[in-house]
């Protein structure tokens, strides 16, 4: 049905795609895996002919016998949405904030003249129900901002499959969602393929997602297809060295010693954080939200503790409370035995806890040199400029960068290097506790493996304690000693990581663990 032959793309002098060829048969699920910059998304956009305006394409993209590279724009508009639908990674921004979800789904039918207004509305209702948004509970008159990320992705899917296209292209459809929502969306996509005989081109960086979904798979790197074939055979053989490396990296467990269980560095006792309810009407307020509801936890010196849970479970609020950025209505937080009280955290105490965020780029001032960015925490601990310089150089060295890198700006570094710089900034004033908030979630598997090694190494050298907040259970399993499972503001299960993830005692934990896509054991990975 879709036949891509020798597809190449060039933007300026840069070659983005290089001789990409593959085919997708009707009703087939075709997976495309690769790291960021491998050309997965550009391949998909080229098939839709929505490539960047500056891009030049060559080769053939044949869909049902017509070469899309030579079709006029008018015919392409008629094809998009009707024959080929597409959904994207970021459901939060993929919908127009000013239009109701019903209108946005109905638009697909109206644009193609497939129905009149009433007909399109009825179809939108039916399609939204099909993707799991019951109009009785989620009316068509809702706006995107009133829905969760998972619900928004369902709306996108409903709009993309409204005309029952022959091919659906899904570009990292679940990357921005938490594990349980990811499992639901993947199930929905699989159901749609089965029920409607639709083909699916599934683009992802996650090997396990492809393993559980795709019939055939292509592995991409640097704009070219490394190898392709039936998923199981290809993943079992791992004939291409790059495929083998991807597998090794995704399963990488850093070499680290189990914590000895020393004195507690962080001690949270019965922490409670209540938000006043949302205002509604003139004087009314809805029920207050107990975002953190009686949480107790400790992190010992040199220990790594994981904190997992779905989005909205209170992880972020708890983190902010630990950092003294969020007042507590009950309980207390102690760091090295000293109380952390919001708004009154002395510099000396603040110095001893540092934070690394998910998106390193967003947490750096783009106009400052790296040496100044890394030296930022020194406002908490005045030292001579001489000592500051040496310690910045040491920190950069410790995270595997060169001291000269301090003279460069943040945009000159890759994503993995930026995360190293963020870690350098966190350790430069020798904290006791480093909170890692989804710190490796946005990284490619090979970079992630390196960063996990780095974290293990730094922990050994500086005796750091980590509080590792993540929705990615495989990462938590790789690097933490103990894990806490959080749900609706409470810790529902806690214990040794291996034990909790292997034999969860709570239903909620079991659900979380089951939702994580895994590579089948039988494939010998």
């Amino acid at each position: 049905m879709l036949k891509v032959e020798g597809l190449s793309m060039q933007i300026g002098d840069a070659r983005i795609l290089n001789d990409v060829s593959f085919q997708i048969a009707p009703g087939e699920v075709f997976g495309v895996v690769g790291e960021s910059g491998s050309g997965k998304s550009m391949t998909a956009l080229s098939v839709m002919r929505l490539e960047p305006r500056a891009a030049r394409l060559s080769g053939r993209v044949e869909f049902e016998g017509r070469d899309l590279l030579t079709e006029p724009e008018r015919r392409l508009n008629a094809m998009r949405g009707r024959d080929v639908g597409m959904i994207f990674q970021e459901p939060m921004t993929a919908l127009n904030p000013l239009k109701t979800i019903g209108d946005q789904v109905a638009e697909t039918l109206l644009v193609h003249g497939a129905a009149d207004r009433a007909g399109a509305r009825a179809a939108a209702e039916e399609r939204l129900a099909r993707v799991g948004l019951d109009p009785a509970r989620v009316p068509l008159s809702r706006y995107p901002h009133e829905l969760s990320g998972g619900q928004r992705q369902r709306v996108c899917i409903a709009a993309a499959v409204a005309l029952r296209p022959k091919l659906l292209i899904a570009d990292e459809p679940t990357t921005a969602l938490d594990v349980t929502t990811q499992a639901q969306i993947l199930d929905l996509l699989k159901d749609l393929v089965e029920d409607e005989g639709m083909a699916l081109m599934l683009i992802t960086h996650d090997l396990a997602v492809v393993a559980g979904t795709a019939d055939r798979v292509a592995v991409m790197r640097g704009g070219a297809v490394m190898e392709q074939g039936p998923t199981e055979a290809l993943f079992r053989a791992r004939a291409h060295p790059y495929t083998a490396k991807l597998f090794a990296d995704s399963r990488h467990v850093p070499d680290r010693d189990a914590a000895s269980g020393g004195a507690p560095v962080l001690d949270v006792r019965d922490a409670v954080r209540i938000y006043p309810g949302r205002r509604g009407g003139l004087f009314g307020r809805s029920e207050p939200v107990r975002a953190v509801d009686g949480v107790s936890l400790t992190v010992a010196a040199g220990e790594s503790v994981g904190l997992v849970g779905e989005s909205g479970c209170g992880k972020s609020t708890l983190t902010r409370a630990i950092l003294g950025l969020e007042p507590l209505q009950g309980g207390a937080v102690h760091l090295d035995g000293q109380p952390v009280v919001a708004g009154r955290v002395p510099s000396d105490l603040r110095r001893r806890m540092q934070l690394v965020f998910q998106d390193p780029y967003g947490s750096f001032d783009p106009r400052q040199k790296v040496s100044r960015l890394v030296a930022e925490p020194f406002h908490l601990e005045p030292v001579s400029s001489e000592e500051r310089r040496t310690r910045v150089a040491e920190a950069l060295d410790a995270v595997g960068l060169k001291p000269e890198d301090g003279n460069r700006y943040i945009h000159e570094f890759s994503g993995g290097q930026r995360q190293r710089i963020a870690i350098a900034r966190a350790i430069v004033i020798r904290p006791s506790l480093v909170i890692l908030d989804e710190a490796v979630s946005a990284l490619d598997v090979s970079i992630r493996a390196q960063i996990l090694d780095l974290l293990a190494d730094l922990q050994r050298r500086f005796g750091l304690s980590y509080l590792f907040i993540s929705h990615d259970l495989s990462v938590v399993r790789a690097i933490t000693d103990r894990v806490l499972v959080m749900k609706a503001g409470q810790i529902v299960e806690a214990g040794e990581t291996e034990h909790v993830l292997h034999a969860p005692a709570q239903d909620y934990t079991r659900k979380l663990v089951a939702a994580v896509p895994t590579l089948p054991e039988a494939w010998g990975v």
Partner: protein, 315 residues
Amino acid sequence: MLCYLLSRLISLVLSLAVASLVIFAMLEIIPGDPAAVMLGLNAEPEAVAALRTELGLDLPLAQRYAAWVGGMLQGDFGTSYTYRVPVADLISARLGVSLPLTLYAIFLSTALAIPLGVWAASRHGRPADLAIMGVTQLGIAVPNFWFAMILVLIFAIRLGWFASGGFPGWDAGLFAGLKALTLPALALALLQASILARVMRSSLLETLHRDYIRTARAKGLSRSRAILHHAFRNALIPVMTILGMQVSVLIAGAIVVENVFFLPGLGRLIFQAVTQRDLIVVEAVVMLLVFAVVVVNFLVDLAYAVVDPRLRRRA
């Protein structure tokens, strides 16, 4: 929505109260006794004192403020020191020119700016875009009184299509009135249109890079249809902010253009009142301008809520 409306209304009333206090206090501080000015340099002190009593200038401050505000609430703006007629009559006569002029200018400015901005954005980087950017740059740089003179030179003196100034009054008919206001409105509108077209362009360009535009294209919308149905309304939000500010500028800023075209508008009135130290007229006109600005901002806030569903929920 009701909550949003109410909070905006409260803020409107508070702004007006603060503004009235500031205006009153300012005019108390500046030197110059209206009674002395009215009677001339050689007036007897007794006569000045008598006039002060007549005008109520010798009453305590608080009492005079209360009388001023109370009067305004009932439509009584006092009596002009120089013209010796009620200020309300003076203002309403002048508003009959200024208000249509402002609305005319806003109409011209948006009618020019929005299509130009959309066109430039949809031809980003092409000759049409560059030409529009160049012309609007010029429009911002050239002061409007100079522009007014050029318009007079071309359309009034050379071509003779319009009168070079003056206003026949609305009694002469709607068409005659609008015709007399066309050149002044155009002179006022061009600067605002230049700014607005640029804001429209950049806002639309930014919106065109949003993910939901890509989603719309993937559904099969053509580029122009995606601009019209998805990008345009989202891009309007910053444009409305600028438009609201411009209305205020146009209401207050017509002084120079009214003088160039010899129009009996509010701008000329306040100009004359200031030079003649007719403080009661100045107070009333400034208060009126503040009122207009605050009301326009209120309307812009309402328009936000109409366009953006995310605001309707907020208090």
